[in-house]
C-alpha cells in the first residue's frame, strides 16, 4: 500500500513543506542571528523629521522647531526610586506623587517629562555625573516654539508633544510641514515652510485693539478680521480670547475656539449690504425707490392674516441709500417685498452664505441659510435685515470682497506660499476669483451708499476718518437664547464692516463684539474700534489721505529690526532700551532668570544695567512706556 500514487504525492508535498520551513528558518537565522551581530539595529529606526517653520508674509517666524531633551526613565535600571523621585520632583517642578506613580506603574520605558528646558538638562547632567539618577535618561527630541506667543494663535494652531499638528495651519498643513519620508536611506528629513498671508505688524495692531475692545466692553469675545480687498488675502486675523500655543494647557478651553470660522450668529444689520445689493442686482429695487417707515413693517398675506415687524425708530421716507445709512429695518423689509424668494436665495448663495469658504483652517462652519421652500411668510423681510440666517465672520468678510471688487467674489486666502527646505518655491497662492455676484455698477452703488453711513446721522459716523472715504455698515443683533428660544434681552452681538478707501478699496475690516456688557449698539462700541484700526493701518500702508501727495521712490526701503537679544548666564546683560514689547516676549521662555516685564510700549529702563554679568536665577526687570 505504501507506494501508492497517493503516497508518492504525499512525499512530494512533504518535500515542498520542508522547503517552506527551511526558508522560514533561514529568515529567522538572518533576522535573529546575522542582523543583530552586524549592528543592524540602527537601520530600523524611524527617520526623524524636522518640522518646517510657519512664517508671516514677510518671512517673520511664527512657529519654529527647536531641539529639546525629554526626560525618560528605563525602569529596570532605576536603583534608587525614592531618591530619584525626590531629585526629579525638585528639578522638573513636578509632584512627587506623579513621578512615583509613573515609576511604579510601568516596567519598561516611561517618559517623565517631555521637552524640558536646557537648564533642567544641565542639572540632570550634573546629578548623573555624581552617579545619581541611575536609569534616568535624556532623549533628544524636537519641540515646537512660537516666538510671537499668542500672536495669530488661531491661525497658526498648535502641535502635540509628538509634533503632530492639532489645530490651525499646523493641522491642515501637517503633511507639508512634516512630510512622511519616502527615501529610506535618509535618516533626517526637513519639512517645508509655510508662509501665511498674515502681516505680523497688522496682526499686532489688530490684536492690540481687539484686546482693548474686549476689556473695555467686558465682552465674551471679540473678532477682528482684516483682508486685502483686492486679493482676498487675510492680513490680520484676531479672536480674543486667544491662547499661547507654546503651552495650551495654560489657557481656557474656550480660548482655543477658532471663532472667526466656527462661531455662527445672526449678523444683524451688517447683512443689509448683501440683501439690498442683491435686490438692486435682481432689478427688483432701484436706487430711487421710496418706502415709508412709520416704525413697523406690515404686510397682508393672501390668507387674510397680517404680519407685523416692529422697528426701534421711525425713519419716515427712505430710499435704498437711507436704508443703509440709517440702518432702517422697516425699509429693508419693504424693499424685499418685490424680490422673488428663489432669486433672493440664489443671490445669497452666490455671496457664499450657507457654504464654507474653503479657508484651509480646520473646523469651519457653513452657517445656516435655509432653502426657500422652508421659508415662512416672515422669512424674506427678516433675512433682509440680517436675521433668520447664521453666518461666520469669515463668510461676511469673503462676501464683502464682491462689493469691494466690482462685484467679483474672492476666495479668502490665508497661506501665501509654500517653500521647500532648500528655499525653492513649491506653491504660491494668489487672488482667486470665484464668481461675479454683482455688476460693477451695483457694487459701486453699494459702496457709495455705505459711505453715507459714516456721514452725519449715519449709524457708522463714529468710524469716520477725516480725509478718507470709508464705506461702512454697522450691526446690532440680538442673540437667540437657547433656553427660552426667544431673543435675549441683554445678549447682543455688535459689529461693523468697513471697506476703504471707497473710490478704490484696499482693505476690508470687520469687527465683531460678542456680548458687550455696558453698551450694545454696533454704531457706538464697534465703530471706534474700526476707526482706530483703520487709522493705524492707513499709516502703516501709507494709504494717502485727501490732499496728501504721494512720493514714490523706485527703490524699496529696507528696515531691519534687531533680533531679540539672548540672555545667557555668564555673559553680560544686553542693552534693551527702546526695544518694543513684542521683541521681548520670546525672552520669557528663558527659565534661567526671573524676567519681569512691566508696562506697555518700549523699554525705557532696565535692571540690571547693560554690561552687568548675568548669574542664573537673577531677577531681570524691564520697564516699558
Amino acid at each position: 500500500m505504501r507506494s501508492t500514487k497517493s503516497n508518492r504525492r504525499l512525499r512530494l508535498f512533504i518535500i515542498f513543506f520542508t522547503i517552506l520551513f527551511l526558508v522560514l528558518i533561514g529568515r529567522l537565522v538572518q533576522l535573529m542571528i546575522i542582523v543583530p551581530s552586524s549592528a543592524g539595529r540602527e537601520s530600523l529606526s524611524f527617520p526623524t523629521v524636522e518640522r518646517g517653520s510657519i512664517l508671516d508674509r514677510h518671512g517673520r517666524l511664527l512657529a519654529i522647531t527647536t531641539k529639546l531633551d525629554s526626560v525618560a526613565a528605563w525602569i529596570p535600571d532605576v536603583d534608587q526610586p525614592e531618591e530619584t523621585t525626590r531629585i526629579l520632583a525638585e528639578i522638573l517642578d513636578m509632584k512627587e506623587k506623579t513621578i512615583k506613580s509613573k515609576l511604579s506603574r510601568h516596567n519598561g520605558f516611561v517618559y517623565i517629562k517631555r521637552l524640558v528646558s536646557p537648564s533642567v538638562v544641565e542639572r540632570i547632567r550634573e546629578y548623573k555625573e555624581k552617579g545619581k539618577l541611575k536609569g534616568i535618561n535624556l532623549i533628544p527630541e524636537y519641540g515646537r516654539s512660537y516666538p510671537e506667543q499668542e500672536l495669530a494663535s488661531h491661525v497658526i494652531g498648535y502641535v502635540s508633544v509628538d509634533n503632530i499638528g492639532l489645530a490651525g495651519i499646523e493641522y491642515t498643513y501637517n503633511q507639508i510641514l512634516s512630510p512622511q519620508p519616502i527615501a529610506k536611506e535618509k535618516t533626517k528629513v526637513y519639512g517645508n515652510q509655510v508662509f501665511l498671508t498674515i502681516d505680523v505688524n497688522v496682526q499686532y495692531i489688530v490684536e492690540e485693539e481687539a484686546l482693548k475692545a474686549y476689556r473695555k466692553n467686558n465682552a465674551k469675545s471679540v473678532m477682528v478680521l482684516v483682508m486685502d480687498a483686492k486679493s482676498g488675502e487675510i492680513l490680520g486675523y484676531s479672536s480674543i480670547p486667544n491662547f499661547n500655543p507654546n503651552d495650551i494647557s495654560l489657557s481656557d478651553k474656550s480660548a482655543l475656539d477658532n471663532r472667526p470660522i466656527s462661531f455662527t450668529y445672526e449678523p444683524g444689520s451688517v447683512f443689509k449690504i448683501f440683501s439690498i445689493s442683491s435686490m438692486l442686482q435682481s432689478r427688483t429695487l432701484s436706487m430711487d425707490d421710496h418706502f415709508y417707515c412709520n416704525g413697523f413693517y406690515e404686510k397682508k398675506l393672501p390668507n387674510g392674516k397680517t404680519i407685523k415687524i416692529k422697528d426701534l425708530s421711525i425713519h419716515g421716507d427712505v430710499t435704498p441709500q437711507r436704508i443703509l445709512q440709517l440702518s432702517c429695518n422697516v425699509g429693508a423689509a419693504y424693499a424685499s417685498d418685490r424680490i422673488d424668494k428663489e432669486v433672493f436665495y440664489s443671490m445669497l448663495t452666490k455671496y457664499g452664505f450657507g457654504k464654507t469658504t474653503g479657508i484651509p483652517l480646520p473646523g469651519e462652519s457653513a452657517g445656516i441659510l435655509r432653502k426657500p421652500d422652508r421659508w415662512s411668510a416672515r422669512s424674506k423681510p427678516t433675512i433682509a435685515m440680517g436675521q433668520e440666517i447664521a453666518v461666520s465672520a469669515i463668510q461676511i468678510v469673503s462676501a464683502a470682497t464682491a462689493i469691494a471688487n466690482g462685484g467679483v467674489l474672492l476666495k479668502p486666502i490665508i497661506v501665501k506660499k509654500i517653500v521647500s527646505p532648500n528655499g525653492k518655491l513649491i506653491k504660491e497662492y494668489g487672488r482667486e476669483p470665484i464668481r461675479e455676484v454683482l455688476s460693477p455698477e451695483v457694487a459701486k452703488e453699494t459702496l457709495e451708499m455705505m459711505k453715507t453711513a459714516t456721514l452725519d446721522h449715519g449709524t457708522a459716523r463714529r468710524a469716520r476718518i477725516e480725509g478718507i472715504d470709508i464705506s461702512a455698515k454697522t450691526g446690532t443683533a440680538q442673540v437667540l437664547d437657547r433656553k427660552t428660544g426667544k431673543y435675549s434681552k441683554d445678549h447682543f452681538i455688535s459689529s461693523i464692516i468697513g471697506i476703504f478707501p471707497t473710490e478704490e478699496p484696499k482693505l476690508i475690516i470687520y469687527v465683531v463684539i460678542d456680548y458687550p456688557k455696558y453698551e450694545k449698539y454696533g454704531g457706538i462700541i464697534a465703530s471706534p474700534v474700526l476707526k482706530t484700526i483703520a487709522k493705524r493701518l492707513i499709516t502703516y500702508f501709507a494709504i494717502p489721505l485727501k490732499g496728501e501727495k504721494v512720493y514714490e521712490k523706485p527703490s524699496k526701503i529696507k528696515v531691519t529690526i534687531p533680533a531679540t537679544k539672548e540672555l545667557k548666564a555668564g555673559s553680560p546683560m544686553p542693552d534693551f532700551i527702546n526695544f518694543p514689547k513684542r521683541k521681548l516676549l520670546p525672552l520669557l521662555k528663558n527659565t534661567d532668570f526671573n524676567i519681569r516685564i512691566r508696562g506697555e510700549g518700549y523699554v525705557y529702563r532696565q535692571e540690571p544695567k547693560a554690561g552687568t554679568r548675568l548669574k542664573k536665577g537673577m531677577n531681570i526687570y524691564l520697564y516699558l512706556k
Binding site: L10, I14, L24, P36, F46, F109
Partner: protein
C-alpha cells in the same frame, strides 16, 4: 472489526499538543498583559478569556476524539451545511457588524464567532469525505466538479467578507487535498489558468490589500502607517537575538507592536525567547506535521488518509503563514497562529480538529498491525 483494531491515541502528539497549548497560554499572557491593562484595566483580561476558550476547546476536542469515524462520515453533510449557514449569517446586518472594515463575525448571545474558522475544517472534512466516496481515477469529471464548485462557493463568500487571505488559505488546502487524492496534474494546470488571473484581479481591487502589499515590498515607504507592523515585528525579532530577552521582558508589545497578542504573537515569542525559542515552537508544529502525515501515509482507508493530511496541513500551514508574515516573508494577512493567538473561534476549531486527528491516530493502520503481530 473496528473495535478490535483500536489502539491508544498517539502519545507523542498528545504531549506535543499539551506543550503547544501550555507555552501558548504563557506567551499570550506575556504578550497581552500590558495591552490588556491599558485597555481594560485588568492585565489578566486576555489570559482569562483564553483559558475559558481553551476549556471550551478541550471539551469540544475530547468529544471529537470520541466520535466514531462512521458517525463523523455521516454528519459531514451537516457540518458543511452548518458552516455554510453560519457564513451566510455574516451577511445579515442584525447578526453581524463590521469590525475593522470586515464583516467576518457573527454575534450570538453576546459572543462573537468567526464562521470562516469553521469553514476551514468543514472544507477539509467534506473533501476527505467526497474524495473517498467517489473514486477519482474512475470518473474524473463527476468526482472533481461537485467538490470544486462547493469549495468555490465557500471561497466566494469568504472573499465577499473582505477576507482575501483566508480565502487564499482555504484554496491552498483544497488544492493540496485534490493533489493527494490523485487528481491529474492536467486539471491543476487548467485550474491555474483560471485562478491565477482571477486571484490577482481580486487582490488588487481593494486599496488596503494594495497598501499591505506595498508595505511588504518596502515597509520604509510608510513607516508610520501600513509598514508599521512589519517594521515593528522585524525589530522585535532583531531585539530578540539568539537567546531572547527572557519571558515577559520584551518591549515591543508595550505599544510598539499592535496586535501583539493575536496575529503578531510570534514576534513576541521571538523577542522574548529568541531564536532558540522560535525554533522550538516551529519544531512543535513540525511534530504535528510529522505525526499527522505518518497517519496519512500509513492509512489504508482513504477517508482517514485525506482527513489526517488535510487537518495536519491546515494547522501547520496556517502556522507557517503566520510566521512568514511576522518575519516579513509574505505580506501582512489576518492569519492567526494556532494554539497561540488570542481569539475564541480559531482556538476552538483548532482544538476540534486536533481531537479528530487524535481519533484518526487511534484507528488501525496496516503498518502497526503488522508490527503488533510480529
Amino acid at each position: 472489526m473496528e473495535r478490535i483494531n483500536r489502539k491508544p491515541a498517539d502519545l507523542v502528539l498528545i504531549v506535543d499538543l499539551v506543550l503547544l497549548l501550555g507555552i501558548g497560554v504563557v506567551v499570550l499572557f506575556s504578550a497581552s498583559a500590558y495591552y490588556a491593562e491599558r485597555v481594560t484595566g485588568n492585565p489578566y483580561f486576555y489570559l482569562k478569556r483564553q483559558i475559558v476558550w481553551i476549556v471550551i476547546g478541550l471539551f469540544v476536542g475530547i468529544i471529537a476524539s470520541l466520535t466514531p469515524l462512521d458517525l463523523l462520515r455521516r454528519i459531514t453533510p451537516m457540518v458543511v451545511f452548518l458552516s455554510l449557514s453560519l457564513l451566510l449569517m455574516t451577511f445579515i446586518p442584525g447578526l453581524s457588524r463590521p469590525v475593522l472594515g470586515a464583516r467576518r463575525w457573527i454575534f450570538i448571545f453576546g459572543q462573537s464567532f468567526e464562521p470562516s474558522e469553521l469553514v476551514k475544517f468543514a472544507v477539509v472534512l467534506y473533501l476527505a469525505y467526497i474524495l473517498d466516496k467517489k473514486k477519482v481515477d474512475i470518473d474524473p469529471v463527476n468526482t472533481i466538479l461537485p467538490p470544486a464548485v462547493l469549495v468555490s462557493l465557500f471561497l466566494a463568500l469568504i472573499y465577499l467578507q473582505n477576507d482575501f487571505s483566508t480565502a487564499f488559505f482555504i484554496l491552498f488546502i483544497a488544492v493540496a487535498m485534490f493533489f493527494i487524492a490523485e487528481v491529474k496534474i492536467l486539471y491543476f494546470m487548467m485550474l491555474g489558468v483560471v485562478v491565477v488571473p482571477l486571484g490577482i484581479l481580486l487582490l488588487f481591487t481593494r486599496e488596503h490589500r494594495v497598501k499591505r502589499l506595498i508595505a511588504f515590498l518596502d515597509p520604509m515607504s510608510d513607516p508610520a502607517g501600513t509598514g508599521y507592523q512589519v517594521i515593528a515585528a522585524r525589530s522585535a525579532l532583531i531585539n530578540g537575538g539568539i537567546l531572547g530577552k527572557g519571558l515577559s521582558l520584551g518591549e515591543k508589545k508595550m505599544g510598539g507592536l499592535p496586535e501583539a497578542h493575536s496575529d503578531f504573537i510570534f514576534a513576541v515569542i521571538g523577542e522574548e525567547m529568541g531564536f532558540i525559542g522560535a525554533i522550538a515552537i516551529i519544531s512543535l508544529f513540525l511534530v504535528v506535521a510529522w505525526r499527522g502525515y505518518t497517519i496519512a501515509y500509513r492509512a489504508e482507508d482513504k477517508f482517514i488518509k485525506y482527513l489526517a493530511f488535510g487537518i495536519s496541513t491546515l494547522i501547520v500551514f496556517q502556522a507557517f503563514l503566520n510566521m512568514a508574515v511576522v518575519t516579513g516573508l509574505v505580506p501582512a494577512t489576518g492569519i492567526t497562529l494556532p494554539y497561540f493567538s488570542s481569539g475564541g473561534s480559531s482556538l476552538v476549531v483548532t482544538l476540534l480538529m486536533t481531537g479528530v486527528l487524535l481519533r484518526l491516530s487511534r484507528e488501525a493502520d496496516g503498518a502497526d498491525r503488522r508490527k503488533a503481530y510480529g
